[in-house]
Amino acid sequence: MDLRAYRTDGFWDELFDEDLRARPGAEQLVRRLAGFSHGELAARQRAADKALLTMGITFNVYGHEAGTEKIWPFDIVPRVIDAVEWERIERGLKQRIHALNCFVDDLYHRRRILHDRVVPEWLIDSAKSFRGPCAGLTPPRGVWCHITGTDLVRGGDGVMYVLEDNLRTPSGVSYVLENREVMKRTFPQLFEGQRISPVEDYPEKLLAMLEYVAPSQARDPTVVVLTPGIYNSAYFEHSFLARQMGVELVQGSDLVVVDRVVHMRTTRGLERVDVIYRRIDDDFLDPRVFRPDSLVGVPGLMEAYRAGNVALVNAPGTGIADDKAVYAYVPKIIRYYLGEDAILPNVPTWVCGEEAQCAHVVEHLAEMVVKPANESGGYGLVIGPRASAAELAECRARILANPRNFVAQPMVALSRVPTVVGDTLEGRHVDLRPFILYGEEIFVLPGGLTRVALVKGSLVVNSSQGGGSKDTWVVHGPASPAEASSTTGGG
């Protein structure tokens, strides 16, 4: 295949530099791609699509008829990250999660950071995701944010920025594992002779973390995954993780609280549950404490949690650190708790709740990306440069009506990765969601989920809005000259 026709179009490309030389880590992949015969790329892509359909790797789309499952598009050209760069990203993520855990714990206890005026008190008090009922609580082992999926983007300057922190119930890790599996099935020769960090041990690490945070009295803790059910967009992932860990996948109706202890209903009666990896938002966890109309929750769950009889993962109340206005303060939060500068920079962010910043946003709306502070999945996003005058006017009105609920960022020219279009490659924009586990220590899954906007020129990578995904490789350079000669032997 002739790669000389490939164009980076002035964007940062993850595989090629501006002179179409392979970037560090991507050399061997690029050599293999160049060796493809005519039609091979398209044939491999079809084989991968077929494997996905058979494996039933699907997600549900909201707003369509109930239970519409879609195959999440997968692109067979992997995204490569050099191990040297990854080491820095990993350190940055550990630092960030460590600080955010301190922050959440502080907010529900002494609130030092508010008294010291590092983060404004009004910001926390007005946040929808701050949970009053969690004040004074300390979750088992002091861990709040057990599982985080942090969204990273690389700009035109080549710098990796943090775009969002997802600390509620981040999804996507199952696709990381399945994408690797599909790649191995359909494209084994790409792996030959390369040192790529494995991702397959994630379920073991996850289970170890869940058992570690069990209430101290539980000897051989029973762990379950709590799902809202098969119509949830991430149901595939819920069942995947339960299966991989070998634990029960339960729905709210399977659980019952008796004497402040959570049990599941089994064919042999009630059985005690110690740790719940819940994939249900705080709002729906317990109809007696949060939304009374929740049908997917468990009445009495929060009481059992407060009594220390069950661990909830992530801890209720963690979502406060997920607020996109709070995000703007994370570099300060890191400095406040750890006394360090943030290793991974934020994308510059204007908080509309601050009067001066709001004025700036309203004035420069056409150049900015506006986000609601409390939504996920890309819902409610307005991309200024691509919005019509009417859309901008509507957006402006919404901001002025409720400034607290909006933040704005400059548009980031997301980096691109070559992506299969027919039998050729074209650049498509990507982001990256690494997954971080906080248990006995902090673990970062090498790589993470690369989401790709499959529509030409599009910057929206969300699965619900036309995005797909790619396998993500953390590639190690040759460890020694001897190894170098043996790894290049097959190429």
Binding site: V225, I230, S239, V250, V256, T267, G269
Partner: protein
């Protein structure tokens, strides 16, 4: 295991077994229709009656003929027992227990579902009827094989097997009862043709011949009701079903501690000591006896539901 999950795997297996049995009986009827010795209208009507869907069929389609009955049994979205509906329900159940079943099982169920959906959405279904039914049968058998080979034979597997065997016992009894709706055709040895078809509908012809040779009504009934070794015989289904039930409860044959054990044990014991000539000579003959069997089998399934799946009261 979770009550809801046990319920799902039990029904998932019943649904797949049901689809397989509908496919097999339909295929046999296609064969009989080809032979042209009997009135096709009666033939297709008997199939609908034996599977207990007569009212639903008549309301939706009117008089029975090959293409209407095939459509009704294979694809009709208004027929809860159509192959398409069975596979949709089975896959939905499989999705809710994806964490429990092996990936190999899931992939086969998913593939079968995709195949049936594609066939249901195809415009011209006439040419490939036989091929379609064959694929359904093969897929069901593959799923059974993959289940046995890739899933631990623990509690969940026993619920799966119970579901399959309860459904199979019911369907074999219905195939045997076809005579009642079809009427006797004992002219010029035609009887043998009909009873051979009954055996075919239960995939039993070859095994029957090894044991009895010539085909007769009495021996076919004896084989399909009372045989202890043929896997589609009603007695076999109850013996193996009870084994699975006892594996779940930890009980022993001959006593009971749950309604499910009591019901299934009693029905199995009845067949242990039954004699085919008594069944055939009884009041109302074979048909009434089968009717009674189906009622008892339904009560057994209800008891399994009450014992394991019904939600115990919470706090």
């Amino acid at each position: 295991m979770l009550s809801r999950v046990a319920d799902s795997i039990y029904w998932m297996n019943r649904q797949i077994e049901r689809a397989e049995n509908v496919a097999r009986a339909t295929e046999t009827t296609l064969d009989l229709a080809l032979e042209g010795t009997v009135d096709p209208g009666r033939l297709w009507n008997a199939l609908i009656c034996a599977f207990g869907d007569q009212a639903g069929f008549a309301a939706r389609h009117g008089a029975a003929d090959q293409s209407r009955v095939f459509e009704f049994l294979a694809f009709d979205a208004g027929n809860p027992n159509s192959i398409d509906r069975c596979l949709q329900a089975a896959r939905e159940n499989a999705r809710t227990i994806r964490d429990l079943i092996s990936s190999a099982m899931w992939e086969e169920i998913n593939k079968c579902y995709l195949m049936v959906r594609a066939a249901a959405e195809a415009h011209d279904r006439r040419g490939n009827q036989r091929e379609f039914l064959d694929e359904v049968k093969r897929a069901s058998q593959l799923i059974t094989g993959v289940t046995d080979a890739t899933m631990s034979h623990g509690e969940a597997w026993h619920f799966a097997r119970m579901g399959r065997l309860v459904e199979r016992a019911d369907k074999t009894s219905r195939v045997l009862d076809v005579e009642h709706f079809f009427g006797p055709v004992a002219v010029d040895g035609r009887d043998a043709v009909q009873w051979s078809a009954v055996l075919e509908s239960a995939s039993a012809l070859e095994m029957y011949r090894k044991q009895y040779g010539a085909v007769s009504r009495r021996n076919v009934a004896e084989f399909l009701v009372l045989d202890r070794h043929f896997p589609r015989a009603m007695h076999f289904c109850l013996i193996k079903g009870e084994e699975s039930l006892l594996a779940v409860t930890g009980g022993t044959k001959g006593s009971y501690s749950t309604p499910a054990e009591q019901r299934l044990g009693r029905l199995r014991a009845e067949l242990d000591y039954a004699h085919i000539d008594e069944i055939l000579a009884g009041d109302g003959g074979l048909h009434d006896w089968i009717d009674g069997f189906q009622t008892d089998l339904n009560a057994t399934s209800d008891a399994i539901h009450a014992t394991f799946f019904a939600t115990p009261p919470g706090g």
